[in-house]
Symmetry: C2
């Protein structure tokens, strides 16, 4: 029997707590969070704002009562203040809580530009259910929005706002949308997004906000950029990414990794043997490069929470977390964009460090047998290492589910360090409604194979 | 420069001929077929009959002229009669054709039950464009059909006929539809199919036809089964599978494998060094078991044709065909069924031969985040080996594209001999419109992991 204290009620914390209890029902597991809710889906917020999800409460996956019913006490609105690793003790809301094992699932906080008036009224971030409700309410009374950030959340919110009849003014510090993709590939994505929005989007690239202007009631009025534009809108949403919550860990002597997130080994242990960390507050290893990387995603948080719980529970058996591919996907109207592993740009950045000779092939073809109805285009890029033939990553844009099918397949190949030869021998199920007899993945692999042989 | 003779104009022959020419434009490549068309899609025929494909000619992927334009002479209606391997010669339509390398892509022929009156009018098979046109024309004048065979083609034709307002009487020699799946899994599939067809399907299981009754004009009237039923319908379609065309090869001293198809090594060579075989006339190795197996599919034919062409062309460089997973997929109205690798039943059959301890996990869950619109169920079974943890295969049934995404992903894992641990660490892209934050594959993998640990 152990006392396991979990800090954080997001995907990682919720998973860690329930897994630790389930593995060893004798364990005394406690869950603390500084929020007033636990286990809700942040990823669903754009779809709530858009209208696909009609009730914000549907995004709550599990309630505190669900945990209490499993024998896990839940403490809401409890702020972790300091950890005393040598004493196996954590200070929470002024009380010293002792533990045998501590699991930190501290999550992430939104990046807020450090500029004048950023905390004015009608400037929103999107990191909680309340944020979602507030943005939606404001949207329903507005005609225009200033959206800051052209990553996935920015793209998802653009769809939500356009569908609700708003004009979107979008500021992005990079020179394009979806800048995680290779430059020319993100250009394809961007052209589709902008043409789909027609006149309802007004993009401002390569710009940073230097100041917000407010009215006499401290309401947002406009943003001033470093290029001197003044951009007006009814309200503003900051979709400028998130950073790991590490302050408590850092001041308590827990190591912070090169990415700025909490350092963990593959067993999700921090530098203290009985302090684990998981989810958005930690860094993770890239499966391909083994280089630490930072990505905050519910899927990864879930897996890490599971591994932390297993290792915190057992003294005999260890589970490893195998790492991440930074796989992502999003929908934009009928389009789907997705990536996994390294882009060509990533591979070039890493080439000296891990001895790569990156090459890539990009193909556009039909997603189904060409004679079938509702055939759509699909564009896929696969990146490989010329020397070893190993696949390094893939990017895709297409319609509806035709992309998830392909990027998932390549993510699976990447997990096993598959080569171009492995890809071109994939025996993928084929029928005319699902693919051509030569799947786009194989077409790209054949093209890569020719480049390998050159 | 070599003279390469290709026999067969299906997927394998067409691919082999064009690849051999493209690799080495100096090669003299000739293509012979006993049909009057080449390179058409058999898989598209059910969708032509159904009506999704409005013109039969759309199923023609490439015409003889396309090949002639590439410098490949095409000989239609040319029957290969005998091969003289010692003389590097093949007899075709009475002429002796000499070759340096011979590629046999002889295809398969439909299995026709050897019963009285099976060649009567209005009893059709489905193996050519003409068959497709004839069945469709007959269907459009009919109210009922007797369909023999409850495999994929039988299921696809059932959809086509029901959509066109016919009543379907279906005879299957096994005790259920989709009998390639595990018994209880095919039961799920069958229940869905039968309930979807409502009163318009009348299944007769565990029955063989012993005789067809005909009228005075030798038109099909009814079928008599071994259980004594007499089943009447306006016409009959035999969807009773296909067998490899091996007669010419066999009588010429080319080895036939244990499956009844032409034996080939992984380089697609027969027992004669300069005679290759590929496509539906050959057997293939299962990637998982390395045991020879027979499956006739366009995707595999395509890959084998490519490998045969590379090896026939080059004396220096060899390409291997890595084998098959017998991956298949089909649509039935809004449902998708698919499988890859071994079923549990297959694994049990092979367990002594290749040292397996088969286990499986079956899960049913939502295909998307539960709060999203249009959420559907997905049922997946994953089979693994308890001793090694290796994945052996998967079966799935779900809606639209939610299954292809998962079975393709597992097919990719199988190619790399992934383990249960690999599966549960897959970093699959996640967003609410595409999956829950724990993909059904991971849920099944977690369940398998528990069984592994027991």
């Amino acid at each position: 029997m152990k006392k396991i204290v979990v800090i954080g009620g997001g995907a990682a914390g919720a998973k860690a707590a329930s897994k630790a209890k389930r593995l060893e029902p004798e364990n005394h597991v406690e869950l603390y969070t500084n929020e007033d809710k636990i286990a809700y889906s942040l990823c669903g917020l754009p779809y709530y704002i858009e209208g696909s999800v009609d009730d914000i409460n549907k995004l709550i996956v599990r309630t505190p009562q669900d945990f209490i019913d499993k024998g896990i006490p839940v403490f809401l609105n409890h702020e972790a203040q300091e950890i005393f690793p040598e004493k196996n003790c954590i200070l929470i809301n002024g009380n010293h809580i002792f533990y045998d094992e501590l699991i930190l699932a501290l999550g992430a906080k939104v990046n807020v530009p450090k500029v004048e008036n950023v905390h004015a009224n009608n400037i929103f971030t999107l990191r909680s259910l309340d944020d979602g409700v507030n943005i939606k309410n404001k949207m329903l009374q507005s005609k225009s929005v200033l959206l800051v950030g052209g990553g996935y959340i920015g793209i998802e919110l653009t769809e939500a706002f356009i569908k609700n009849g708003l004009d979107v003014k979008l500021i992005e510090s990079k020179d394009r949308l979806a800048s995680d993709f290779d430059d020319d590939f993100s250009k394809i994505i961007q052209d589709i997004i902008i043409s789909k929005c027609d006149t309802h989007i007004e993009p401002y690239f390569s710009r940073k906000i230097v100041k917000f202007e407010v009215d006499e009631k401290n309401n947002f009025k406009s943003a001033i950029t470093d290029k001197g534009d003044e951009i007006f809108a009814d309200f503003c949403v900051l979709a400028t990414g998130a950073s790991p919550n590490v302050e408590v860990a850092k001041k308590s002597g827990i190591h912070i990794g090169s990415t700025g997130a909490i350092y963990v080994d593959t067993k999700m242990r921090t530098n203290y043997k009985n302090i684990y960390a998981c989810g958005d507050c930690t860094e993770a290893y890239c499966i391909i490069t083994r280089i630490p990387t930072y990505i905050g995603l519910g899927t990864i948080a879930n897996k890490e929470g599971r591994v932390a719980a297993i290792n915190a529970t057992s003294d005999e058996y260890f589970e490893n977390f195998d790492g991440v591919l930074k796989s992502t996907i999003t929908r934009f109207f009928d389009y789907t964009i997705s990536k996994t592993g390294l882009t060509y740009k990533d591979a070039i950045n890493y080439q000296d460090r891990i001895n790569l000779v990156p090459i890539y092939a990009t193909i556009t073809k039909k997603d189904k047998a060409s004679y079938m109805p509702n055939v759509n285009d699909i564009t896929i890029r696969i990146v490989a290492d010329k020397r070893s033939g190993e696949i390094l990553g893939a990017q895709g844009i297409g319609c509806k589910d035709n992309i998830s099918q392909r990027i998932n397949t390549i993510a699976s190949a990447l997990k096993s360090r598959a080569t171009v030869d492995d890809l071109l021998h994939l025996d993928l199920p084929y029928a005319p409604p699902f693919s051509g007899s030569i799947d786009p993945i194989l077409t790209a692999a054949y093209k890569l194979k020719e480049k390998l042989n050159k």
